[in-house]
Amino acid sequence: MSAVTATLDREAAWRLAATVVDPEIPVLTIEDLGILRAVEVADGVARVTITPTYSGCPAMDAIRDDLGRAFHHAFGAGRVEVRTVLHPAWTTDWMSEAGRRKLAEFGIAPPSGRAGHAGGPVRLTLATRCPRCGSADTVEVSRFGSTSCKALYECRSCLEPFDYFRVL
């Protein structure tokens, strides 16, 4: 990562940006989450576009700093510009399969089902499985959890509480 002379092309820039993790859920990269939207390179500067999960997500500042740090180490100073866009609005549907798997392994139940769309099919709430024992016999303890994107659940089989990444 210390090779300051490495070539900064679009693919290298994407690969590097995709190593940055979410500070709240460090097993997921911003690529896994679908927060990383676009990478372009022009005149030796990468332009990385990210989108927040929730409007008030405080992780965006940390992610921007981490992107800056990663590019600085790999390519030297002034090689990245980070842009935040709100449109199109982020949805859990953008979370990769690998991301969902890693989330469950980390102890957070991944979103069950797809986000609803205006005019689309009615959204069904599927059973939320306990990420520890796999039981579907779980109950919502609190609709709001430790971060905006999560709700708090409890498993009635193994009696452990767990976080659930809500469908958005």
Binding site: Y54, G56, L86, V141, F144, T147
Partner: protein, 274 residues
């Protein structure tokens, strides 16, 4: 120019910090659209500040988290809306949040009403959530691309807020005699300010296709609230008793105190970052 970032070793020379919030469009807001963005942004900012007070004081831990999360969403909306408003005349979200005085704020008076007991907070929150669900649903069609993008994102979040306060309305209405009495008291204090949310101002005539006419939100709001009231056997008080005027900078005595707390740190240390 290269300078060390106060957060650590990050070099911010080309790392763009200025365009933190960009919506669907990158065009500056017109003066009228900016004024409208202030209406919505100030509602969200002031509500977020009120709700934040409950952190560590909620009736149960889950409610601490719920109100903190709702406040955070609202703060996110406020930041986006104030940032957009600021593009009209080169001000930042912080300039607008910390350096305007009471009469320059455009929040509805409903937003600044005291937290009271939990029923007061919930009634205020329910009114706003139901209003904002209808508002952001329609504002997604705005010809101002940034407003449309902010609305599309906010719409999903306020729908969740509405579910939260609706459940609490039911719980208070159908719980104990005491919870019902408190709910009725809260409605008596808070509901007179609700009607002001739906008042059309001359500004709206200049924002055809950009803004959502508040008066058009009244019917869906009344329908949603009417259904909830009927289901719980609650009679809603007259929503048009208070004089209102928040959109013109006319506020209750509560806003000044709230802003003093919100703004004191930024004003004591101008330009500080952390």
């Amino acid at each position: 120019m290269t300078r060390a970032d106060p957060h650590g070793e990050v070099i911010v020379d080309r790392l763009s910090l200025a365009d933190e919030i960009v919506g669907g469009g990158e065009e500056a807001a017109t003066a009228d659209a900016a004024e409208y963005a202030l209406w919505l942004g100030d509602d969200a900012l002031v509500l977020a500040q009120c709700l934040g007070w409950w952190i560590s004081r909620g009736p149960e831990l889950e409610e601490d988290m719920a109100l903190a999360n709702i406040a955070l969403d609202l703060l996110g909306h406020a930041r986006s809306l104030l940032s957009h408003a600021g593009t009209a005349d080169g001000r930042t979200e912080d300039d607008l949040a910390y350096w305007r005085d009471e009469r320059e704020f455009r929040c509805a008076q409903l937003a600044e009403l005291p937290n009271g007991d939990y029923a007061h907070t919930l009634v205020r929150q329910l009114a706003f959530a139901v209003f904002q669900v209808e508002l952001y649903d329609r504002l997604q069609e705005s010809s101002d691309a940034t407003l449309a993008a902010i609305a599309a994102k906010a719409a999903k979040e306020v729908a969740y807020h509405r579910e939260h306060s609706t459940e609490w309305f039911r719980r208070l209405a159908l719980g104990t005699d005491d919870s019902r009495r408190r709910l009725l008291t809260a409605l008596e204090h808070v509901w007179p300010y609700v009607g002001d949310l739906f008042r059309d101002e001359p500004l709206l005539d200049r924002l055809e296709g950009v803004a959502v006419r508040p008066s058009t939100l009244r019917a869906p709001f009344d329908q949603a609230m009417g259904a909830l009231a009927a289901e719980t056997g609650i009679e809603l008080p007259d929503p048009d008793l208070a004089r209102g005027g928040g959109r013109h900078g006319i506020h209750t005595e509560h806003l000044g105190l709230l802003l003093a707390e919100l703004q004191v740190l930024a004003r004591a240390h101008p330009g500080a970052t952390w």
